[in-house]
């Protein structure tokens, strides 16, 4: 699993990345009440807004960690947004992206680096 400074995580399987937000981010947001996900087929560019995650008093943009096309969005979050709080780095995934350049992932942090980064916040 790889991480961004914007608190997204990425799990790579071949040329498909599963993307979500980290446990740290989910904890900071508080109770998630709504997740606005992109439609499958939509093109994503690394660093651009990909989804919106809402708590009662805040709406936060989630950025695409990598470039590619969305192949699936996690419909479970529509019915049960609290899954993001319950299992942020598992069942609470947001989208799957078919990567146009799988090497982009090399630029992301591993868990140790992310935890070091969190310690600086």
């Amino acid at each position: 699993m790889r991480f961004t400074k914007d608190h997204e995580w990425v799990e790579i399987d071949g040329d498909v990345a599963t993307v979500g937000i980290t446990a740290y981010a989910a904890e900071q947001l508080g109770d998630v009440v709504f997740v606005d996900l992109p439609e499958p087929g939509k093109a994503m560019t690394a660093g651009e807004p990909m989804a919106v995650v809402e708590s009662v008093k805040a709406a936060s943009d989630v950025y695409a960690p990598l470039t590619g096309d969305v192949t699936a969005a996690n419909g479970e979050l529509t019915d049960n947004p609290q899954t993001v709080n319950d299992q942020p780095e598992g069942a609470g995934w947001f989208v799957k992206i078919k990567l146009s350049d799988p090497h982009q992932v090399d630029a992301l942090m591993d868990r140790a680096a992310y935890e070091t980064f969190l310690a600086t916040l």
């Binding site: 009662v56 008093k57 805040a58 709406a59």
Partner: protein, 448 residues
């Protein structure tokens, strides 16, 4: 200074607590050049009696609608409002409270909003209603902006039956947001003309029923055609009492219904404050403008209400908000809701039938006046007539006979080429004597 509790001694003592000598020291951050040395050039304070005297004098120079035969409608309607409505909205706890951001001590306002939303939903036939907009015209403009967000298209088509003030408001607000607004020429009975103007870029079509000429239209087919083209249908209504009798926007397939709610619970007020009604389908809920009140429970499991889905709003989403609206029409919504609670569905239907009957009687009386042509084929409580002379002149002439005959269409749209069209409205407040006085004054004037 009857509204200022501090005494000179209070001020002195308080300055001492603060640790400054004069109140001027508290304005130290204001640049010297901008500090006024004394009062501006306006009258000094005045007693309650003096202010009342001045304003009563101004009020006396206006002809109240209730002072005699009166037939103006066209977006604002004279109705009887029960005395208890105005009494209740003047309760301190409603009148002098703020937006209910602290739900534990604002359940009164919040429950009212929940009931208001439920009433608006039932009247419009759409499941999601917000807690009010400024008025019908701004609600209409917000609906158009919402449709462009939902469809990600940039064109809006407005019917020729849409109230010209509404069309202008939509144009001002939407045009500057980058939306191309295609307002069709004024037409008495041609709501469906919007269909010919739809293309692949059209976000929405806006129709009105009853329209500004009073014409009632079944827009079901327009809804189907709009949807087939990927556009939303926005149905506008300026006379909320019509919901008691006519097919609701939801029944006819509207995606968004907007209305002016003034008719229920609110006075004419020379045009404001009024209350905009806004309702939409469940699917569009998260793109709706304005406040929404929702049901929940408190820490002990008791039912309560809160403002919800606030992440759509400006105080959280800022430049990405669904609207910039903050203050809306809370107290007017309360008045609407109280009056609606008194009426109930049965009372509203009866009120609507009386309005319809009064208008038909007015139509029959005017149809018998030589030179008058009735233009509106199907109407609720207002209709258009063609006169042999410019309508504005006839209205002015009838004033001398103490009849306010209606609204000349030229007042709303001077360039429409419909100078001879007069919009006439009757409500439950219109008596047989009013109708007779109008018909005889018009007969005499046109014979002149």
């Amino acid at each position: 200074m009857r509204y200022l509790p501090l005494t000179p001694d209070d001020r002195t003592a308080m300055l001492a607590v603060i640790g400054v000598d004069t109140v001027d020291a508290l304005f130290v951050d204001v640049p010297d050049a901008a500090r006024l040395a004394g009062p501006v050039d306006l009258p000094h304070h005045a007693s309650e009696m003096a202010v009342e005297r001045d304003l009563v004098r101004m009020a006396a120079r206006n002809r109240a609608a209730g002072a005699g035969p009166f037939f103006c409608g066209a977006g604002a309607y004279r109705h009887h409002v029960p005395a208890s409505v105005d009494h209740l909205i003047q309760r301190s706890e409603f009148l002098t409270s703020y937006t209910p951001y602290q739900p534990e001590i604002a359940q009164g306002t919040l429950q009212v909003l929940f009931e208001f939303q439920s009433q608006v939903s039932a009247l419009t036939g759409l499941p999601v209603a917000n807690a009010s907009m400024y008025d019908g015209s701004t609600a209409c403009a917000e609906a158009v902006l919402m449709a462009t967000r939902v469809t990600r298209r940039r064109k809006a088509v407005l019917s020729g039956g849409l109230h010209p003030h509404y069309a202008e408001t939509v144009h001002t607000l939407a045009h500057n947001a980058g939306v191309e607004v295609n307002a069709l020429p004024a037409a008495v009975d041609a709501e469906a003309a919007v269909l010919a103007a739809i293309d692949a870029e059209t976000a929405c079509v806006v129709v009105q029923t009853p329209n500004v000429f009073g014409t009632v239209t079944d827009v079901t087919a327009i809804a189907a055609a709009a949807h087939a083209a990927g556009a939303l249908l926005i149905v506008t209504t300026t006379e909320a009492v019509s919901f008691g009798l006519l097919k609701s926007p939801g029944e006819m397939g509207a995606d968004i219904a907007v209305a002016e709610g003034q008719s229920i619970g609110n006075s004419l007020n020379f045009g404001g404050p009024y209350v905009g009604l806004f309702a939409c389908t469940e699917k569009l809920m998260r793109q709706a403008p304005g406040r929404l009140c929702g049901e929940t429970v408190d820490a002990e499991g008791r039912r309560g209400f809160v403002l919800t889905l606030s992440t759509r709003e400006q105080h959280i989403r800022r430049d990405k908000a669904t609207s910039n609206i903050c203050t809306n029409s809370g107290l007017c919504a309360l008045a609407f809701s109280i009056h609606m609670s008194l009426l109930g569905g049965a009372g509203l239907e009866r009120l609507a039938r009386i309005n319809h009957a009064r208008a038909r009687r007015t139509r029959d009386a005017l149809a018998a006046v030589p030179g008058v042509e009735i233009l509106t084929p199907r109407f609720f409580n207002e209709f258009a007539v063609r006169l042999p002379r410019p309508a504005a002149d006839v209205v002015e002439a009838l004033l001398t006979r103490d009849v306010v005959a209606g609204v000349p269409f030229s007042r709303l749209a001077p360039a429409a080429g419909l100078d001879d069209v007069l919009l006439v409205c009757a409500t439950e407040t219109t008596t047989d004597g009013d109708i007779a006085a109008f018909a005889s004054a018009l007969t005499a004037e046109l014979a002149r």
